[in-house]
Amino acid sequence: MMAYLPQILFIIALGFSIWFFTRNVKRLRRNILLGKNTDKSDQRPKRLKKMLRVALGQSKMVTRPIAGFLHVLVYVGFVIINIEVLEIIIDGVLGTHRIFSFLGPVYDVLIGSFEILALLVLISVILFWTRRNISKIKRFWSKEMTSWPKNDANNILYFEVVLMVLFLTMNATDYQLQLNNAAHYNQAGTFPISQFLLPMFDGLSNATLIVIERSAWWLHILGIFFFLNYLYYSKHLHILLAFPNVYYSRLNPQGQFSHNETVANEVKMMMDPEADPYAAPEEGEEDMPEKFGASDATDLNWFQLLSAYTCTECGRCTSECPANQTGKKLSPRKIMMDTRDRLEEIGENINKNGEFKPDDKQLLDDYISREELWACTTCNACVEACPVGIDPLSIIMDMRQYLVMEESAAPVELNNAMTNIENNAAPWPYNQQDRLNWVQEN
């Protein structure tokens, strides 16, 4: 029985980790689907291609060469080293050791490349940490990047360092045990990096080496289980959500803002001389939305909410934003972070009460101020900058629509411009009859 204890413990840890992860994924899905419907089922081949190019191929990451290159290293490392995690899980469940070692030379190449990648990841992560904490790159030091967002970013980097160090320690001691011909430690794998760690374990007994090797093995895999479940609470969710987010991201020209069918029907009625304004709506036609635009997270559509969870707070959007660059309060990254925070708050409310209990709060004012919304020039720089296809501008627009159409709360000068458009068909107080005067003027 005792012989099976590690396996039993491993299966319990694995099971708990998967159960907890699944629970959070369900919550994530539920929260995202609190959003309004939007049809994104069109143009599948085009979407797939974009996902392969932008998410898998990281095409937008490299517009900033240094960060982009380091990110590609970490990303490739992460993906490839996961093959090793698969082996570790099988070993853990079956009580085997390096079960893939039957692959022989292929196994040697695999372990060798994992080691090299682990080193590259380690170096990249240290450089990332330096960029974030020492070189004080502006986008990492904005107002919204304090407390949790700041710690979250660093936590992930510390975590990666610990995981990579554990991985290399595990390999180094394993290698030493192989050299010592210890029982169960068959010759398997090449260790191009961890071989240099051997002097650290010089003169240790096999028993001690086994303790170190086992500890590193366990801590490494438990760390990965923890990391998997940390994702839901972190900006690091992008490693999963970047793919669907890019897939569902906009394919239309960026200048094409979303069409509002409800308003279109209204206008059609007003323009139709045959229409009877007093006619009772036909069956199924009373689908007037309860409000125009968005004042809370759940007024947004599910893609916008998916994007809020996808955002990894890199701040490329904010650093390209003309309003932000000139000291205005608007930060497109904060728009996404606020949307996620509010949505999480709504989700927690539902978890606690079984259904949403009004909490006297909303996305507008309690999270995003009007001043932020009105500072936007709709220039699309934020949309262009996002490496994972997020459209912060669409949220700003939906919230402006709420302000204007539900609250008539546009800035005074804008109201004047709109009154002009209404009365004389131009944003300035000129007469439409004078529109051709320029021809005569010198």
């Binding site: 960026q254 323009m271 660059q325 262009e384 804008l414 709109m418 131009a426």
Partner: protein, 265 residues
């Protein structure tokens, strides 16, 4: 530039009365119709159209705001009222092709009118002229900007919004100017500060105006003139240059104004 010559500007209504249909409708836009600076751009474009005998017409007093600022300010209802009115007029004249000197009108009619029943082939004037150039109908030769150091400011609604970065640059290259790029250009071009209805309101508190910031980027390239492709960008950049007290040495032109004395017949 000599503006005193008589411009031939047919209206759709006038042509219709004669039973004619022009090849292209020139959508002048509110700025192009009313703003003193933008009117010069309008005239420079018409001058070229006249010179190479393009069969065009304007809506004149039947034209009205496309609704772009209303939509971007959040007033979807007003936008759609404007759009519906315009589409009714355009469809009434059976318009097929539209050229406009304003990237905002261009974007709105091209991208947002189709969902409301307005389907036209819409081009920005720089695209229109570039095509005429390619077809050999327009010849550009030298002109007063030859050899001058020029930087081009990408209007958001032509560039990022619609992916057109090359047509205006192609025209400038034909003028043999020394084209220098700002540090943020093309898909990373910085906004002039006027978009999203900002033109019609005061900016939110900050430490600088967007147009000053953009003008500084332009001035960093040490240009002899700044080229733009949007009447609103033009106003913002002109104000920026004035703010830096450089208005005597550095002028802001629309690409079409720079062409107009180099167009050769």
């Amino acid at each position: 530039m000599d503006m005193s010559e008589n411009l031939k500007v047919p209206t759709m209504a006038g042509l219709m009365a004669e039973g004619k249909q022009p090849e292209v409708l020139f959508w002048v836009g509110c700025a192009g119709s009313f703003d003193d600076r933008a009117k010069k751009i309008t005239k420079a474009f018409v001058k070229i159209l006249n010179k190479i005998n393009i069969d065009f017409a304007v809506l004149g007093t039947e034209e009205s705001c496309t609704g772009d600022p209303a939509k971007r300010a959040g007033n979807e209802f007003l936008f759609q009222m404007q759009a519906a009115t315009n589409i009714e007029v355009l469809n009434g004249y059976d318009v097929k092709k539209i050229v406009t000197t304003c990237p905002h009108c261009f974007n709105t009619i091209k991208n947002e009118y189709p969902a409301l029943g307005g389907n036209y082939d819409v081009v920005h004037h720089t695209q229109f002229l570039k095509q005429l150039l390619d077809e050999g109908k327009l010849k550009i030769e030298g002109g007063e900007f030859k050899g001058k150091r020029i930087t081009y400011h990408d209007p958001c609604y032509l560039g990022r919004a619609n992916g057109e970065y090359e047509a205006p640059r192609e025209l400038l290259r034909k003028l043999d100017v020394e084209l220098v790029e700002m540090k943020s250009c093309k898909s990373r071009g910085l906004c002039c500060g006027a978009g999203g209805a900002q033109m019609f309101k005061d900016a939110e508190p900050g430490n600088k105006e967007v147009n000053i910031h953009r003008t500084e980027e332009a001035l960093e390239t040490q240009p002899e003139a700044i080229a733009a492709g949007c009447p609103f960008c033009n106003t913002m950049m002109t104000d920026g240059v004035k703010n830096k007290d450089k208005q005597d040495s550095i002028k802001v032109y629309d690409v079409v104004e720079m062409l107009s004395d180099a167009v050769d017949l």
